[in-house]
Amino acid sequence: MEFNIDDLPVLFPYPRIYPEQYAYMVDLKRTLDAGGNAVLEMPSGTGKTVTLLSLIVAYQQHYPSHRKLVYCSRTMSEIEKALVELKALMKFRAERLGREEDFRALGLTSRKNLCLHPSVRREKSGNIVDARCRSLTAGFVKEKKEKGEDVEVCVYHDNLDLLEPHNLIPNGVWTLDGLLRYGEQHKQCPYFTARRMMQYCNVIIYSYHYLLDPKIAERVSKDLPKDCIVVFDEAHNIDNVCIESLSTDITEDSLRRASRGAQFLDNKINEMRESDQKKLQDEYEKLVQGLRGAEDSQPEDAFMANPILPADLLKEAVPGNIRRAEHFVAFLRRFIEYLKTRMKVRQVISETPPSFLAHLKEYTFIEKKPLRFCAERLTSLVRTLELTNIEDFQPLQEVATFATLVATYEKGFLLILEPYESDTAEVPNPVLHFTCLDAAIAIKPVFERFDSVIITSGTLSPLEMYPKMLDFPTVVQESYNMTLARRSFLPLIVTRGSDQSPISTGFQVRNEPGVVRNYGNLLTEFAKITPDGLVVFFPSYLYMESIISMWQGMGILDEVWKYKLILVETPDAQETSLALETYRTACCNGRGAVLLCVARGKVSEGIDFDHQYGRAVLCIGVPFQYTESRILKARLEFLRETYRIRENDFLSFDAMRHAAQCLGRVLRGKDDYGLMVLADRRFQKKRAQLPKWIAQAILDADVNLSTDMAVSSARRFLRTMAQPFRAKDQEGISTWSIEDLRKHQEKMDEERIRELQAEQERAENGEANAGAAAGGWDGKESDYEMDEDAEAELMALDN
């Protein structure tokens, strides 16, 4: 269907549109026009991706600025999904417009997924694929080849050099699959095709890390222009992604391997001094000029990823005491030895970067400045030595990154040394956590570099939390409701068991047999009434294990077994995917199944349980984080002091966003239906923190139920859902045809006109009023009419 938003013609590839999709587009356009950021919460299963894409593509094609779209998603399957949607959209546009538009869109993912090299692609670990690819494609390898030396290269990569650099692949939308196929046909590397063509694309779809992880972002996303439209989809966890990308953990083992790496570098340097003194000298000369000078030669194949340095630092020359290769290695070794000594302490230490640096200087005479250059210097050295077995240097690289970060950021980071794994452990296993506390640090460059950043997801409530935590201004913050022709999902809050005693996974009561039994009964009852699939979420693996073993003892599992197959998520990805497979089969063949999983696990984030795969989701307990963690405590304190977010507010926000994610799993479209059961006494008070579209669907009668009451209303709900429901019933309510849309637009226009008129009138009246006030209280009538504000009203009453 085709319609206009203001002056912008939008082509939407479906004959019908949801009202919330239209609202979303309007707000999105407003944001783009204003050139600011937005936080948009759109219920799951309402076609967020296609909405976003059709508006932005329309925007790109209509306005002369042709702003590029950078669309970030979390997983590879989501990237592929978005690409497929985009492809369909472009096809539709071509049909409607009668011509192919000049348009190119590409997805980018890791080498592991895009490699074509017959032996490299078979490697299991992504790191090894990266490393092996580098060893085949690095600049010096090619030089050697040209000199006639016998070195292995990758044809797929070298073929690229034969093509026009800005036209490696024809126009069109390339899904990852399509890209692979094209690469195979033309014998060119899909990964590098995508990387090099990024500048010439209208739409880029890739994972968060290419923008947020400063170690990668610098390489991959450097050339994107400022007016890009950046979208983070499924962004409810974006703060954690930011934090993780800047945090490192250092263990004794990694230090040992780093030492070994340093030793190896040392040997290599000696070797090279014998054979090829000139190269070292060249590097040295370059470093005298400054880091960036040394780098420009090979922007793409950079060996290791480095964290962002402030731009002025990159132009500066490398400090004199680490310019020479051997000096630098000795420097690294000293730093590593220092860390080793620190790890020997047997008590918990938490320290800010400045105090760490002061101590470091006192004991090793390492200054802050060379430390900052550590990561870049290491990269340069590794490149000079023409090393290709990078995986050996991974730990050394980590230490260097840590050095750079600790010397660059004074605030927002904390070093925490934990000598024991747990409070009860006897054998020390020290870990030095260098943890980022401020999510804003990693994402700041993104906000600074790009005009419009859109953060969107199905669960972002409370909306104002994100701008606060990530420290950015917004133009639009909006949460959309789900328009439904029938109540197709039923959220229930169960606070009591059938015996009326409260249920909760609060710390004091979680292992009480009464509570566990009540949860067991709840599960049994819902297993009885739910058709096909039932998904159960626990707050943690630990608790899930303990409750399952207790249920086993109480015979509850046997009871559930009568109705459904029972499957359990484990931390192991392979096992879990097997369990999921079985679960799906059981849901399809009518046996039905229960999947027991964890609210912060893989299943809760990426897996959809649409239709028969999930007819009910049971959220057992509020999924709070483990609050005893020192890292979390430090972060809470930081949030309180820096952004004035109180501990409890954050914890509860965090728990509820995970709960909302779990709930959203079962409802993946408007023809879908499902039960959402929140089983904990504490949910009663947290109801307001759910996303608007869920919170509004909770009836007041459903917030304080006991198990039996919940079961009876669930039964009633399922019976209604079993009635035939035709697509026609939704028309005009939850789906709009073009006429409905027109009507709505007209209405909105009218409303706006009326509003404008009213405003004008008000202004006029205001004047009249002022005049009237001078001449006594004659303007009384108009006072009543406008009911402008409370004061005017009061005055009118007084008269």
């Binding site: 040392d266 020479r324 000795a330 000293r334 080793k340 002091e641």
Partner: protein, 380 residues
């Protein structure tokens, strides 16, 4: 500046045996002596256990027990190493010496390039000292001394400046830590205060409910009803008017409790039968009195609210299990007083004569029962 530094193998100048678990001198294993501690002497950086050090060097200087090492060591020189890798320990010791002499800072130089060259020169020199050949080491040593002699004043100045800067930095870190601690304490206190406030306001509400004058109860109810206040007030006014009217008709008697009596006397005076009794407005009855007007205020003594205390009940006053239920401690004291004084005006003999029908033993049994109940109350 492109001279080639000597062999960089770190172990050239010092042994790199990391003696973590066994003393190389007496061969004691850590397995046998858990708290074994190793010491080194910066003369030669050979490490040995404390026992060996005491055994060999307590009686004055002695030769290092390592084979091939002929240095004379003194007990005083021994210390424990900071680094596990003794080569690094040695390197750092040398650096300390170098840093004390070469302590120029960036501001002392015209350009950054000059500073960087200076840094590299120092680093080269340190390298020579750490693991250069003998000749180089001697040369470096000489350079070091020369520089020290030439730049004495400057070095002294920089040292002082450096120390000041360090002190300032340390102070700043300490101050920051203190401030952070303070903020943490404040936040805790705030949270505590909030909790307390909440508890207190709940208590106050309970109190106001409990000290139930009839109108205060209705006030609380009104508060609950919120928006209806005005309507209720209007209704009250109407009721008041009606009451006044009926009072006037009965020709006497006040409002409130007396109105019922007045009504009764009305019926007595007019003797027309079959007349329907006029429906009085419901609200005029006032609150229902379950005791039918019986007065409970003691006449022989007074209970002062909040004055009577008893150590047995003190602890319950702050116990949420008692307070949340609305348990009133004044009531408790009042009742205890009542029980204590209840028998004062009663003479058992007289009662017997009137013939209540209780034997003396029964009376004592009952009173014992009452006492028991009282005790239990105390225990709860």
């Amino acid at each position: 500046m492109s001279r080639k530094p000597g062999s960089t193998s770190a172990s050239a100048g010092a042994p790199a045996i990391s003696t973590e678990d066994m003393c190389p001198v007496c061969k004691t294993m850590r397995y046998l002596n858990k708290d074994m501690e190793f010491l080194i002497n910066p003369e030669c950086y050979h490490s040995m256990c404390v026992n060996c050090v005491n055994r060999l060097f307590n009686d004055g200087p002695n030769q290092c027990p390592y084979a091939g090492c002929h240095r004379t060591l003194r007990r005083k020189g021994f210390r424990s190493a900071f680094f596990g890798d003794l080569a690094v320990e040695r390197e750092v010791d040398i650096r300390r010496r170098v840093a004390a002499v070469f302590n120029q800072v960036e501001d002392d130089f015209e350009t950054l390039d000059d500073y960087n060259n200076y840094l590299q020169m120092v680093e080269d020199l340190t390298f020579d000292l750490v693991n250069g050949s003998d000749a180089r080491r001697r040369q470096a040593e000489a350079t070091l001394q020369q520089w020290e002699a030439e730049h004495r004043a400057e070095i002294e100045r920089n040292r002082r400046a450096g120390r000041d800067a360090d002190d300032a930095a340390r102070r700043r870190i300490a101050a920051e830590r203190e401030a952070a601690r303070q903020r943490r304490v404040d936040a805790l206190r705030e949270a505590e205060q909030e909790k307390l406030d909440r508890a207190r306001s709940r208590e106050a509400e309970l109190d106001s409910l409990a000290s139930a004058g009839p109108d205060s109860a209705s006030r609380v109810q009104l508060k609950r009803r919120g928006g209806q206040v005005a309507a209720q007030r209007a209704l009250d006014a109407a009721v008041g008017a009606a009451e006044a009217a009926s009072g006037g008709a009965s020709g006497g008697g006040g409002a409130g409790g007396a109105s019922g009596v007045g009504g009764a006397s009305d019926v007595g005076r007019l003797s027309i039968r079959g007349l329907k009794e006029k429906k009085k407005p419901a609200a005029s009855e006032g609150p229902y009195d379950p005791f039918g007007g019986l007065e409970f205020t003691p006449s022989r003594y007074r209970v002062l609210p909040g004055v009577h205390t008893h150590p047995g009940i003190e602890k319950y006053k702050s116990d949420p299990a008692h307070v949340t239920g609305g348990y009133d401690f004044d009531d408790y004291t009042a009742r205890a007083m009542f029980e204590a004084f209840a028998g004062l005006a009663v003479f058992v003999e007289d009662e017997k004569e009137v013939g209540v029908g209780l034997s003396a033993s029964e009376v004592t049994a009952i009173s014992a029962g009452i006492a028991a109940v009282g005790d239990k109350m105390d225990l709860d």
